[in-house]
Symmetry: C2
Subunit: 339 residues, 2 copies
């Protein structure tokens, strides 16, 4: 395999980047100038998000393929756009590569990113490739658009709202635990492929969110990257409300439950604190819940009512389990307990 031993090879990498197709007439200028030019629809706002992924902090090269990592690096940013109710348009990729990263790795990385970009008509419109003296660094910025004043914010939750979560919770965390602690020690388990897929290939809930918004007004939303409890707390804090969550309602997959049994893991704890779900937590008027659940499920994504907004000016999370208050968490969510 060709190794990145010389500056000249970064020219080849730039050529890989330049092959990237422009997928939308709204991208007036993509890779190759000092900056990219985007045409946003009239009366829409630009929505911008960015995420930084570092080798051995956020991923390990031994545990993930370059292709999956390219997909995931874009997916986590598109998930942020989904939470805002935005339509994605373009992404920008900063990539720092150590000398032991091969050109094939870079090619596969972009192929994985392009597969997801194709799915949503997103153009990889620019970026920056550089050397790293330590691990791989991936910095993705995604740009989308939303009709003016119609973005879904964390701060819009109202007392009386119900909370809905998309998909199932904890699968990605179980996939990561499987990679870190279990793999190699046991024979392949039937639940393993779907959990590894949840960890490696999160699917941004852009279509689910578009369907939900077409069905009713979504008051508030956040994507779940740190775990339901922590992200629900961010939403509660931004909206200054108390969220009451029903432990028994938290959606787990059949494979997730089977893995919990095999690992001796508490499924409820996992659903609350497992990270990297990249599902959406939404709040909306209770009367709209059936229509929104049906709309999301029409896109092939599960939707579950898991609780409600019970009070204003208290910024806290109450967990109801077997009908009684089990956990009450208030304020100071930067130190929200994870164990």
């Amino acid at each position: 395999m060709a190794q990145l031993q010389s500056v000249g090879e970064f020219g080849l990498i730039q050529r890989i980047a330049r092959r990237l197709a422009v997928r939308s007439p709204q991208v007036a200028l993509g890779v190759g100038d000092d900056a990219a030019l985007l045409n946003l629809p009239a009366d829409e706002q630009a929505v911008v998000t960015k995420d930084l992924l570092l080798e051995d902090v956020h991923f390990r090269r031994a545990w993930t393929s370059a292709r999956d990592l390219g997909w995931k690096a874009l997916a986590v940013n598109l998930s942020d756009l989904a939470a805002m109710g935005a339509t994605p348009l373009a992404a920008f990729v900063g990539l720092a590569l150590p000398a032991d990263a091969s050109l094939e790795w870079v090619d596969d990385f972009y192929s994985g990113m392009e597969a997801l970009a194709d799915d949503f008509g997103v153009t990889i419109a620019g970026g920056d490739t550089t050397a790293s003296h330590s691990g791989i660094v991936i910095a993705v910025t995604a740009v989308g658009h939303v009709p003016r004043a119609q973005a879904v914010l964390r701060s819009g939750a109202c007392v009386g709202d119900v909370t809905i979560v998309t998909g199932t919770l904890g699968d990605a965390a179980l996939g990561l635990r499987w990679l870190g602690e279990v793999r190699g020690d046991r024979p392949l388990q039937p639940f393993e492929p779907s959990l590894l897929r949840a960890h490696h290939l999160p699917y941004p809930r852009l279509r689910a969110m578009a369907a939900a918004r077409a069905a009713a007004t979504i008051h508030a939303g956040i994507d779940l990257s740190d775990g339901l409890a922590g992200d629900a707390a961010h939403l509660a804090e931004a909206s200054n409300v108390t969220l009451e969550l029903q432990a028994e309602a938290l959606p787990l997959s059949d494979d997730g439950r089977a893995a919990c049994r095999a690992l001796g893991q508490d499924p409820g704890h996992l659903a609350l604190h497992g990270g990297e779900d990249y599902e959406l937590l939404l709040t909306l008027a209770e009367a709209d819940a059936p229509a929104v659940v049906a709309a999301i499920e029409s896109t092939g994504t599960r939707a579950t009512v898991i609780g409600r907004v019970i009070a204003r000016e208290a910024a806290s999370i109450i967990l109801l389990s077997a009908g009684r208050r089990e956990t009450v968490l208030t304020g100071g969510f930067d130190h929200f307990p994870s164990g």
Copy 2:
């Protein structure tokens, strides 16, 4: 000094980020949600650029203050927007921090970035802070806007154009060389402060470019990050033209000439190949040159005619020195010689 030993301290860093002021009513939502919301003027295009800076690749903590690094990380992105003729609006900062980075360092970093942001009304509108197991990683994305179809591209140079460069060349490279090879071995030299300033605190030529565009049509532009020769070659390649540069015309500062004498460095080589000038190279009709030079100089920035566009469909750089062709460089500019 407080060290970043725990996840909790990243909450404090996020609070530093949240203190950042929104400097423009066009930033509808800044730090604190899943993404930022920007209002672009009607009939303008979004201009997006990003740069990645890694410790020990692009900077050394021992050689630069956190404040200067915060300034520079934003400046190199605003320089790209200047080259496009864009008006900057917002910046997004990804920051990965090792355990030995202090909270004071982060505070100083943002203070330096804010000083430059204030100068140009730019809002630090979002980002991502994470742990690093190796060095500091800085990923900045800048977003600006430009009237539709009026961006200045690398590809617009016309035969008969003159080329103008802003400021002086090579000062930043001399400053870096001073830091790397000389400092500590000799007493302070009178030219040292201005060269170190050129290296640490590049000043994006946004006002110079705005004045130039108000005076005449600028056909093509690029900012000088890799050195004049390499960046002129990028412009020649994008426009498919031959640029003829006059060696004797390349602008050097008095301090730069003095440092070249002290270091035994060839000033002409330095002006061509010294990196990180963050000046602009522009091409425009010869008849407009006096007005454009005067307009740029009215902003306090030097402007010098250094050559002309002599042929189409040859993508090369010709250097004239003492009236004769000294160097001819053609095609394959990814391998442009630097020595």
